[in-house]
């Protein structure tokens, strides 16, 4: 299965199907309509939790996609991407303050451009250093830059506000459309608009000479030199532009939360970009969008319920690295040819058969992690493990036995079923190959 997916090139086919276009339109309609699905008509107000989650998803989409401009498209592993996101945020916080006191009179709707410009300028400075190198040396320089800026953000009170960060008020009373942005739904639609603009912009970039040469330098930087391109300059421009979009994402962050702290510049957020892009799939343009939405939703949901979010995300990530290096989007794309041949139905039963033990395995694992975590962190917080309204006694043996049993039985069963699944998959792809050879 991985072979089929790995063969999918970064570049979309020259005549992209209209199905893809419809998928994008559907995504946009969904983004516009979703808040109203959670609208509380009795109280005539929006769900604050949902709006803030969707807003977060929007900026993370920009962030993850701009990260993939480096990772997936140019083959550059960066550990400082949050620096540009955070810097865009800081600048916009200052810009908001400036807009309300009149020293920086630009309307709210254009604030993301200020953030983008800030990200671009910083990315030009740091890109000049980092993009002279490639591969591991590049990754190490970016790691250094990331640590440098995070430390600097803590140190310099004036611009970064130290540990407390800096705050501002987004009700600056400057809008192209007379909006006050007092309500989060207004901010949400601003985010939707700029996310759409950024996604289109970044997609456009993949279809330009620069975007194509970034792919080329990723595949074979030496050959790129012998067709007349300087890989360093390709890397540099690509890096600078990805900083521009990251800065725009950071600007939306600043507008939505009205506070930016050094966390938005620090290592964990850079790591998050990597996780989102990789889990979503770096080989397909839309992959990081999937990753960003998935991680944001899981993060908002799971971190409310559990202390162990980091363990889950770590295990998910390692599982993806080991078994599905092409990410979620890669899996989906691998089904394309099978769907075209009308053979998707054949996979239904095998899918159910691996999902059942997979579910048991995940349940067992989650139960075990939660039991362990409730012994220490939960106990320290004075929380009790409650399942469907029933308190669970973590001192008794039964829940532990159930968890470990689920883990082991699910694991063995899944191993067996995945062999069966692999056989069916290979059969179908072999059939497709034969059919292709006949034509």
């Amino acid at each position: 299965m991985s072979d089929a997916a790995r063969s999918i090139p970064m570049a979309t086919p020259r005549r992209a199907g209209s199905a893809m276009t419809w998928l994008w339109v559907l995504g946009l309609v969904l983004a516009i309509a979703l808040p109203w699905c959670f609208y509380d008509f009795a109280k005539a107000r929006h769900s604050g939790f949902m709006i803030s989650m969707f807003s977060q998803a929007g900026m993370m989409i920009i962030f993850a996609l701009s990260y993939n401009m480096l990772m997936g498209q140019a083959g550059l592993l960066s550990f400082c991407h949050a620096v540009f996101f955070g810097f865009g945020g800081y600048v916009v916080i200052h810009a908001l303050t400036g807009a309300s006191n009149g020293s920086f009179p630009i309307p709210m709707e254009l604030m993301p451009l200020a953030g983008g410009l800030a990200g671009l300028i910083l990315a030009i400075i740091f890109g000049y250093m980092a993009t002279k190198q490639r591969a591991t040396a590049f990754a190490m320089i970016t790691l250094g830059i990331g640590e440098l800026m995070a430390t600097a953000a803590l140190m310099f009170q004036h611009f970064f506000g130290g540990e407390g960060g800096i705050t501002s008020d987004r009700m600056i009373d400057r809008s192209l459309f007379g909006l006050s942005y007092a309500q989060s739904i207004e901010v949400y639609y601003l985010i939707v608009f700029w996310t759409m603009v950024s996604v289109i912009g970044m997609y456009f970039l993949t279809q330009t000479p620069l975007g194509r040469m970034a792919n080329a330098c990723r595949d074979n930087f030496e050959r790129a030199q012998f067709v007349g391109y300087d890989p360093k300059i390709v890397r540099f421009i690509q890096f600078a532009l990805s900083g521009l979009f990251a800065g725009m994402g950071g600007a939306l962050y600043a507008i939505a939360y009205e506070i930016v702290t050094f966390d938005s510049m620090a290592g964990p957020l850079s790591a998050n970009a990597l996780l989102m892009a990789y889990i979503g799939g770096t080989t397909v343009f839309g992959g990081p969008i999937l990753g960003a939405v998935l991680i944001t939703v899981l993060q908002s949901g799971v971190s409310l319920l559990s202390n162990s979010w980091l363990v889950y995300v770590g295990v998910l990530f390692i599982t993806m690295v080991t078994f599905v290096p092409e990410g979620l989007a890669g899996i989906i794309m691998a089904h394309g040819p099978i769907r075209k041949a009308g053979k998707l139905g054949k996979l239904a039963v095998p899918y159910v058969r691996i999902l059942v033990p997979g579910f048991i395995l995940v349940l067992g694992f989650v139960a075990l992690v939660e039991l362990v975590s409730f012994q220490t962190i939960g106990a320290a917080q004075g929380k009790k493990l409650v399942l469907f309204g029933n308190p669970i006694d973590i001192a008794s043996n039964i829940p532990w036995a159930v968890a470990i049993g689920g883990l082991i039985i699910g694991g063995i069963w899944l191993r067996f079923e995945s062999i069966v699944f692999g056989r069916v998959w290979d059969e179908i792809t072999a059939e497709l190959k034969r059919a292709e050879a006949r034509t």
Binding site: S7, P13, F226
Partner: protein, 250 residues
């Protein structure tokens, strides 16, 4: 020396203490088809790497159309009209055949690092890439990632990318290595067709290809030129037969 397409003057190259290229002087006229032959380890590929700027030279001079190029980086040499292929296929393996050729065309058609012109709207560019694809007999594989092509197809693509930019001087490093007889015949035909009117410099082991394609042959042994001239003369040369051909034609 003026008027030469490529001229090398006492070029030397050391790797550490070992001297690999030991004073090569070579002039290649405009439109010449020049083959470099020699036993393994003679420094043929190294010579290519020096001319194309992949490695810096230790001493000497290399000029392309009377301009010194020995201190330029590879991309600049390429922009001046010298293009090369590699012995080990060097293509963009995740991009499609069409994309590969288009990448080969981009710089020569003046797109530079453009991030504002959408590729799908560049009619002249796309037509040229299509045309090239037909020429290479790869049109049926347009949307196949280059990494999945057969070996012979990859070699054809390699040649295609080398000539795509319209360079006036083409360096081919063992274009027919590892090919079957029919594949070799096809490749020779292809090379003859696509390098029409250009200066061709090639490293080749297959004597049939050399004597068929080249109008000048240079024999390189241990980093030194021991003979240079028309194929017939070189074949007849005593020194060459002893050093190289003798072992083959026995």
């Amino acid at each position: 020396m003026s008027g030469q397409a490529v001229s090398l003057c006492d070029v030397r190259k050391n790797f550490g203490a070992t001297e690999i290229i030991r004073g090569v002087t070579l002039n290649i006229a405009q439109g010449e088809r020049h083959a470099i032959i020699g036993p393994n380890g003679a420094g043929k590929t190294t010579l290519f790497n020096l001319i194309s700027g992949r490695f810096p030279i230790t001493s000497g001079e290399i000029a392309l159309n009377d301009t010194r190029i020995d201190t330029m980086p590879p991309h600049q040499i390429n922009r001046m009209g010298l293009s090369r292929s590699f012995q080990i296929t060097s293509i963009f393996h995740k991009l499609t055949v069409f994309e590969n050729l288009r990448c080969g065309l981009l710089w020569s058609m003046g797109y530079r690092y453009s991030f504002w012109s959408p590729l799908w709207r560049q009619k002249a560019l796309n037509e040229k890439a299509e045309f090239l694809m037909e020429d290479l007999n790869l049109a049926s594989r347009a949307n196949t990632p280059a990494g999945l092509l057969s070996y012979a197809e990859q070699r054809a693509l390699e040649i295609g990318m080398t000539i795509a930019g319209g360079a006036s001087v083409i360096l081919l490093d063992e274009p027919t290595a590892g090919m079957s007889n029919t594949e070799t015949d096809y490749a020779m035909d292809l090379i003859r067709r696509v390098t029409q009117g250009k200066t061709l410099l090639m490293v080749e082991h297959d004597m049939k290809v050399v004597f068929d394609l080249a109008d000048t042959v240079t024999v390189l042994v241990y980093g030194q030129v021991i003979a240079s001239g028309p194929p017939v003369t070189v074949r007849a040369s005593r020194a060459v037969q002893e050093a190289y051909l003798g072992a083959l034609e026995e």
